[in-house]
Amino acid sequence: MLTKRIIACLDVRGGRVVKGVQFVDIVDAGDPAELAHRHAAAGADEIVLLDITATHEGRGTLLDTVRRAAAKLFVPFTVGGGIRTAEDAAAVFNAGADKVSVNSSAIARPELISEIGASFGAQAVIVAIDARRGAKGAEDAEVYVSGGRKPTGLRVVEWAREAESRGAGEILLTSMDTDGMRDGFDSELTAAVSESVQIPVIASGGAGSAAHFAEVFGRGKADAALAASIFHFGITSSRELKAQLALAGVSVRLPC
């Protein structure tokens, strides 16, 4: 049976893993390559590395980090942040990534999705969407770009559908309303997106307990869920999290 994936996310800034609350308030949490290995050993199904302040000057550092992390990582490895062209993506793939995640740059130029897919396959392109809806309904959630700073006027479900039609392999949906709050995912929004596309949806933003994961896999219809700070500070490991999810009736990869 296809299991629900637990994806460990490393937010990287200037070569170090950090984790903020609602996209600000950054805390240092360690070396990305070392943390990637630790997460894989602790049972994460997949590793995502997001360079949250990707700059042109920082590309070399990022590629070196990707290379070091990928050398002995034998689970799927996604890299995002600052990928603006198919050439940027190629450099990241060559450094050892299995998938890339594109966000602002795909909004600016949606052809980027199919361009990367043409060379590396649709399965290698994750379109990341930062969503905010405040008190509005899930269908009216809006896409934000530039690390969550700029509203685009696009509706999340519509952009998800377009990304799929342009050849995205997966959607990584982050709720800016719940991100970093450790108070649960936005299951309503996740379900709205999951029901509007055929491709897998990864839920992100708000993980605080195993119950939150169970809820987003159930009511939220997520295929995978991403967590960062929940692991960094030793709250639990993927293995412990999955053991709790298994007890709650969620199908997960165990033993791992």
């Binding site: 994936r5 689970v75 050892g96 392999g169």
Partner: protein, 208 residues
Amino acid sequence: MIAVIDYKAGNLTSVVKALRYLLGEERAAREVVVTQSPDVVRGADKVVLPGVGHFQATQLLADLGLTDAVRESIAKGVWFLGICVGLQWLFEGSTEADGTKGLGTFAGMCEHFPTEYMGVELKSPHVGWNSLEQIRPDSHLLRGVADGSFVYFTHSWRAPVVNATAAVTNYGGTFSAAVERGNVMGVQFHPEKSADVGLRVLRNFVEL
């Protein structure tokens, strides 16, 4: 010498990386050769055909003369492992690319997952960790891998279950997760991305 065929498949780097890890840098430097040359393939003791992406990409194998080289190697008894599209290529073809022929070692065509199974919508691609079932006890490739072990998949087309099927996986019905007949082997999952279980499969292959 292990020839890893380079036909611009997306996971070539990851497969080579895993082989390096298993063999150690020194031995890998001597034994693992990434190649597009039919002659190198003819001279290899083992051949690995990686793959992820479009079935159409395998057209390059015929264009470069690699299909014939692989056919000859297999006939000589050389161990062959196809991964993902590399497994699919062992069948007659795929509905993903009508004009592109597979090697035809195994009968049948690879087909897209249904959009619905037993009245329930089925997402595609099939991405994630799914279990290996009905593992054939005589499989060399899956030696020491228990029924129910999880491995990582990412694909939208799948190969049918045939006599040579060494393990099946369930997703919208069963498909061939692994095939094995004599020296010819293939896996639909990505052993290079399937943690310890995947490394075990690759180790089984390199130790043949």
